[in-house]
């Protein structure tokens, strides 16, 4: 377990999440992709913290990332609920009304 391997695993997680966020059509699945990306960021931060500068400030940054993850999830579920109520479905292609 070195810094390089931790960062490699983190970038693999982030890339898988990016694929999901770009390719999925259901809002909840897009959220799953985004969460995988944030998990990769968390792992990379943990590795950088432990192998480069293990003082508490880096952990505070990780707490901020965790909070961002929570906000993303709660707001995402709320938006998906609104979509269901308005359109009876939860596909991203239904939300193109701002685009038209």
């Amino acid at each position: 377990m070195t810094l390089e391997t931790v960062l490699l695993v983190a970038s693999a997680l982030l890339s898988v999440g990016l694929y999901g966020a770009l390719s999925q059509q259901v809002v909840v699945m897009v959220m799953m992709g985004l969460e995988l990306m944030v998990a990769g960021v968390l792992l990379a931060l943990g590795g950088l913290w432990w192998f480069l500068a293990p003082d508490p400030s880096g952990q505070v940054l990780m707490i901020v990332v965790l909070a961002a993850m929570t906000v993303e999830m709660a707001t995402g579920f709320a938006v998906a609920t609104v979509l269901h109520r308005r359109a009876g479905g939860d596909m991203t292609d239904m939300t193109a009304e701002l685009h038209e």
């Binding site: 377990m1 390089e4 391997t5 931790v6 960062l7 490699l8 695993v9 970038s11 693999a12 997680l13 890339s15 898988v16 990016l18 694929y19 999901g20 770009l22 390719s23 999925q24 059509q25 259901v26 909840v28 699945m29 799953m32 992709g33 969460e35 995988l36 998990a39 968390l42 792992l43 943990g46 590795g47 913290w49 432990w50 192998f51 480069l52 500068a53 293990p54 003082d55 508490p56 952990q59 505070v60 990780m62 707490i63 901020v64 965790l66 909070a67 993850m69 929570t70 906000v71 709660a74 707001t75 579920f77 709320a78 938006v79 998906a80 609920t81 609104v82 269901h84 109520r85 292609d93």
Partner: protein, 184 residues
């Protein structure tokens, strides 16, 4: 190869493989379980990096989140999600290309950058040091995160509520009778 290395590689392979499985399996329930597995493995990997508090929080938070996701599926999909095959992708090749390019860029960065040597040594009790930082020198961060969490609760309730008092009594709350009586 020490036992820590072995545990880390187990967690790493499990995290990435179940992360891939999220978008490969053909039902939403299986995707949820795969994502939960991936997050638990990520949390364990963070635990191996000696951050007991953050690792435990990640595992707990993600298990709860997957429980919420299961409730969501039962609420809105109106079916047994495990039995419903699905394939819902668009711009598949393009997405694969972008993610592979991202992985190559980030991975080569991770391998090629001459990382500096470790500066300082970890505090004897990492969790206590984090708590002290949050309550002393980095308290502003904690206060901001708290305010953001409250805002998130408000956003969630406002977005997902079906009919509020403003729907019933008008924007200035002056209507005597609910404006949409019977229309519900």
């Amino acid at each position: 190869m020490t036992s820590t290395d072995l545990a880390f590689w187990l967690c790493a392979v499990l995290a990435v493989a179940s992360g891939v499985a999220v978008f490969v399996v053909d039902s939403m329930a299986r995707a949820t379980y795969a994502l939960a597995t991936s997050f638990v493995a990520t949390g364990l990997a963070v635990l191996l990096l000696q951050q007991s508090y953050l690792g435990a929080v990640i595992v707990l938070m993600m298990v709860m989140e997957m429980a919420v996701m299961a409730v969501y599926m039962v609420m809105f999909m109106g079916m047994n999600p495990a039995l419903m095959p699905m394939s819902m992708v668009h711009s598949h090749r393009w997405a694969i290309g972008v993610s592979v390019a991202t992985f190559v860029t980030l991975g080569s960065g991770a391998l090629l950058v001459p990382w500096p040597a470790r500066r300082g040594s970890p505090p004897p009790d990492v969790t206590a040091a984090l708590g002290r930082a949050l309550m002393e020198s980095h308290m502003l961060v904690m206060m901001t995160v708290g305010a953001v969490m409250v805002a998130t609760i408000v956003v969630g309730v406002v977005l997902s509520s079906h009919r509020t008092r403003y729907d019933r009594f008008g924007d200035d709350l002056r209507h005597r009778d609910p404006a949409d009586r019977g229309a519900r």
